[in-house]
């Protein structure tokens, strides 16, 4: 099973039985005594103490809660594997998408406009909070796909900035 955490990919394999399991993380072996309480609850020994560890998942992520600490691991998506070769993530081009679904408050730049690194490009509102999205590169605005008042999904490409 492949899980992504903080932009790092981990290859995870589980082995064992009878309450004693080993975990292979990128081939590295770790042992955890565990009592399986239910599909979601695992009483695991961590640093000499047993604690309940809670886990669940949806299509995109695995979610884990340990003693007040939470971890969200993303599962690899098919499209992402292709996307990385497309150059969309390269530093020559920046694709601005909203952090979550919301409403466009104000578009601060126009097409063909020159922008510097750190220029505020657009203001998006979600859950009554305004967020400004900034350019992380200097270049030219090549696409402005939305206007003020528009509702957008988190995968909508709002603005594209390209290096000259």
């Amino acid at each position: 099973m492949i899980l992504n955490y903080n932009n790092k990919v981990y290859n995870i394999e589980l082995q064992g039985k009878d309450g004693s399991y080993s975990l292979l993380v990128d081939g590295d072996k770790v042992d955890f005594p565990v009592n399986i309480i239910s599909d979601n609850v695992f009483n695991m020994q961590i640093e000499n103490k047993f604690v309940n560890v809670f886990a669940t998942q949806d299509e995109n992520n695995c979610y884990v809660f340990i003693d007040g600490d939470t971890f969200t691991f993303s599962k690899p998506k098919e499209e992402e594997k292709c996307f990385s070769s497309e150059g969309g993530l390269s530093a020559d081009k920046e694709i601005i998408k909203p952090p979550m679904p919301g409403c466009i408050v104000k578009v601060l730049v126009q097409k063909e406009q020159k922008v510097e690194e750190g220029t505020a490009l657009i203001i998006v509102e979600a859950m009554k909070m305004e967020t400004s999205l900034y350019s992380t590169i200097s270049g030219i605005v090549t696409q402005v796909n939305v206007s003020a008042g528009e509702q957008v999904d988190s995968d909508t490409v709002l603005i594209v900035v390209e290096k000259e």
Partner: protein
Amino acid sequence: MLFSKNVNPHGLRNPSNSKKGKNLFKKILIANRSEIACRVIRACKEMGICTVAVYSTADSKALHVQTADEAVCIGPPPALQSYLNMEAVIQAAKDTGCEAIHPGYGFLAENPVFNQKVRDAGLVFIGPNPEPMELLGSKVKSRVAMIKAGVPVIPGMKSSSKVLKDFEDTAEKMGYPVLIKASAGGGGKGMRVVHKSEELQSSVEGAMRESKSAFGSDEVYLEKYIESPRHVEFQVAADNSGNAVYLFERECSIQRRHQKIIEEAPSPVMNAELRKKMGETAVKVIQTAKYNNVGTVEFLVDKNLNFYFLEVNARIQVEHPITEMTTGIDLVKLQISIATGEVLPFKQKDLRQSGHSIECRIYAEDPDNNFMPSSGKILFLKEPSGTGVRFDSGIYQGAEIPVFYDPVLAKLIVWGKDREEARSRMIIALKNTVILGVKTSIPFMLKALEHDEYINGNTFTDFIEKNLCNVELHDKSKLRAAFMASALHANLANKSKTISSKNNEIPSPWLSIGKWEIAE
């Protein structure tokens, strides 16, 4: 809750619980959603009052809809078309035969126009009269009135303005940093700290937009920014006959984005003399405004324990439970009984603060990403419990968290005999509050509560900036355990899926993990 709601350790009379109260309502509409709507519904049930919930189409399965006796859909998801739609709310109350409307907090709670419309429709508004609400709802007008009454305030603009020059002039005169505030504001919305003149224009514009969208008014003004203050507020209550009391203070200095996340009562900085002085000032404030019903007078307290009047919140506060825990008084029931015309069932000399209470607001937000609101589905929920633990919740396992509203999920409140007992109880309770599927502020609040400066009571409004900005929230040593739990869960979930489904389905990639088995 530690105390049973009717009998409390102070031997005080709580608001009428029986149907003997001659004018007690039979049916109330709650013009709100999430945890506060559920909280008000609970109080009504205890008083034998029927409840009507209202909801937008995004909330048809929300908890408040499930717990009310009746529920009425009042519009599409955007708040302006549903929870802020005055006509729809009032019509729903009339159609269902309600006698009164409880507005909760936020939405229409402090809108004097709505307040008046409710009365014009022949219904009771559970809250203050429209006149004091209008006066206090305008931070500018209330400032002027309080200056006249001799209440200390922070220096700044005397009125709101739409002319940038007015802001520039006042800022130049007082010197930066300055604070821009929405006149109608609350909860940090429409509020901006400005450190230099170049930032002033964009901040004023941003504050106006945010205020317009949150409160329907773009009036903003500017005042001197007091650095590292404490936010201390006093709970007050006044009946319709002019009796007024204060129910002591709450300290709400732990804030991010100017929004409170951890509150406590009493304030660690408070002493008997200051408490009496501030409490009496708070009563003076509400008497000056001719305020009736339950409310909160907010102050800033500087390092030398000077205090400045900020504003009055003419509503029930998010953090009201910590006052309930330390006084034994149910504030929502008190609101309802005052609205029926009953006199306060206690006098100032009868009131006592007992023990220490802390509240943590659990928001759907990502502390790793600048507290960005997070929406989604609650895939797994385990609520905390134990002595002195109260969980005021608006969620359930399977609930969807819509993007349209404030992302508050629940409030965790604890009571302890002293601050340290309350603090450790809160830490344990947070570690037993399992919410999976959306990101929450729980790991962050734990770091705050475990911080030495918090333990020492050095709680100032810049606590988070100063102490927790670069804190590593996640214990990397638990990463492997978390991987293990993910793998175990994926396998078990997968196994039950294969057992229940037919073999001809396309195998999921999880099936290929293999090489191991689960013991029965």
